[in-house]
Subunit: 281 residues, 2 copies
């Protein structure tokens, strides 16, 4: 393979589009083809310069690709990886940007055809904004990119993706898919669940009485229901566990309030403040 | 009373300081005295022009006041109102800016000395920033100010405070103290409880894996533990009720995830999204 591979990106929304821009800005790809099922999104990706050309035909789009980024919704990633592996260059490396890893890596545990390999990835970057028009070449700068090689994955594949994500400005961490899902259940999927439950609790009559506090805390509930249905489903086990851990803390808080006991309530408020202060603003 | 009253503000942090600036900018007060127990905060309030003069002596500070804003922490408001009523002008009107109203209004149900009256208030404005140096004359512009007159409160008192808050740019709503506390338990105290429980759930090992989602959802947990201990205590009954309503929604979400049932999970995600979208960004 050349130092600069031919790249295909399946799914050119915010993440796929930003990968395209970052690859091009940092001269990490010979060329970039965008693939999607909506012509409109592909035109947007071309307009912002995230891809050199684009097509709605997956088989055609990946034909020259030595490296494929699958940036589809979580529920479609395995299928798109398998489809791409049938039509791209022999021995190509395929990776993804999905928010869950265990299910995808399990579904793709069998060897891919024609010497192609899959190695899962997840850049911890995003925004509530959608679409390539909000894409940025710097979206991944100073952010974590997690790679989840399965046992026995060729060391070169990991190194290639590591170098690539570092080239886009990310810090790279490799971990087990299950470990990724366990941690992300707490740091990403739990806050989403909490925001959803909070927004669902609100009555219409109370809308005028919400301020920045309610809006910040419930912001994630504005996310795409289909996308999040798939994420919760794919990471079901760990999500349930994190909801239970959260429910325990909420019950602790509830009991301290119920007993009107500052000796119980204040330490909990202080403990939470310490955690939150450690994260910065 | 003159059209422009002499005003005293007890507690000149962000809210008290902003009231001072807003009164002065909109020419609503003859003069404004700031009262506090920390000289440093008072100097800050003078520096930003929120008060004309300031003192740590409450009795001396309210001596000429015809209108007193008590902007102390929730747990001290009743005491400060009673103290002020003993030393201010006869027949003065006293109000507050506390986040809970039922307990305060109950504690102040007995007539105040010397013809003074208390009428509770709560401007729905704020910021995570503290101190008069962050105060703004426009903090209350286009925000709600809630007034909670008790039965039999003189109509002129309500009208005076209404006119004053409108003069500072607020929309004014009058309601029962209990109704205020019930609604605010949902729109303000519940998100705080949720943010605290979420931050308390986080393990240190997971810090690097948090993004804007976790940070937004847990932001309120950085609030002052003493202040929030007092708010939860003062509004205990309604806070418990709102935590229970939230816990029901979370349990609904948990069950849908547990059953891996999109026909249960998606409608809940959509319902939450509808509520959240209605609030704006």
């Amino acid at each position: 393979m050349d130092a600069k591979p031919s790249v295909a990106i399946i799914g050119v929304g915010l993440i796929g589009g930003s990968i395209g821009l970052a690859l091009k800005k940092n001269a990490l790809a010979a060329d970039v083809v965008g693939i999607g099922h909506r012509r409109e999104s592909l035109d947007e990706a071309e307009t912002v310069g995230a891809v050199d050309r684009s097509t709605t035909d997956l088989a055609e789009g990946v034909r020259e690709a030595e490296l494929v980024f699958v940036c589809s919704p979580v529920g479609m990633i395995s299928e798109h990886v398998r489809l791409a592996a049938e039509h791209c260059r022999e021995g190509a490396l395929l990776t993804d940007a999905g928010s869950t890893k265990e299910q995808i890596c399990r579904e793709l545990a069998e060897p891919l055809p024609r010497g192609c390999r899959f190695l899962g990835g997840h850049p911890l970057a995003g925004s509530e904004k959608k679409g390539a028009r909000h894409a940025s070449a710097d979206l991944f700068r100073d952010r974590l990119a997690i790679l989840t090689p399965r046992d026995g994955a060729p060391r070169e594949d990991l190194e290639r993706l590591q170098t690539l994500w570092q080239g886009m400005g990310s810090q790279v961490i490799a971990m087990e898919p299950a470990e990724h899902d366990r941690i992300l259940a707490m740091t990403s999927h739990l806050p989403h669940a909490v925001a959803v439950a909070l927004a669902a609790t609100l009555t219409e009559k109370a809308y005028p009485f919400t301020g920045t506090g309610f809006r910040d805390t419930s912001r994630l509930a504005a996310g795409d229901p289909t996308l999040w249905n798939d994420i919760f489903s794919a990471n079901r086990h760990h999500v349930l566990h994190s909801i239970d851990a959260f429910a325990d803390q909420l019950a602790r808080l509830r009991e301290a309030v119920d007993r009107d006991d500052p000796s119980k309530l204040k330490p909990l408020l202080e403990e939470a403040k310490n955690h939150r202060d450690a994260l910065g603003s």
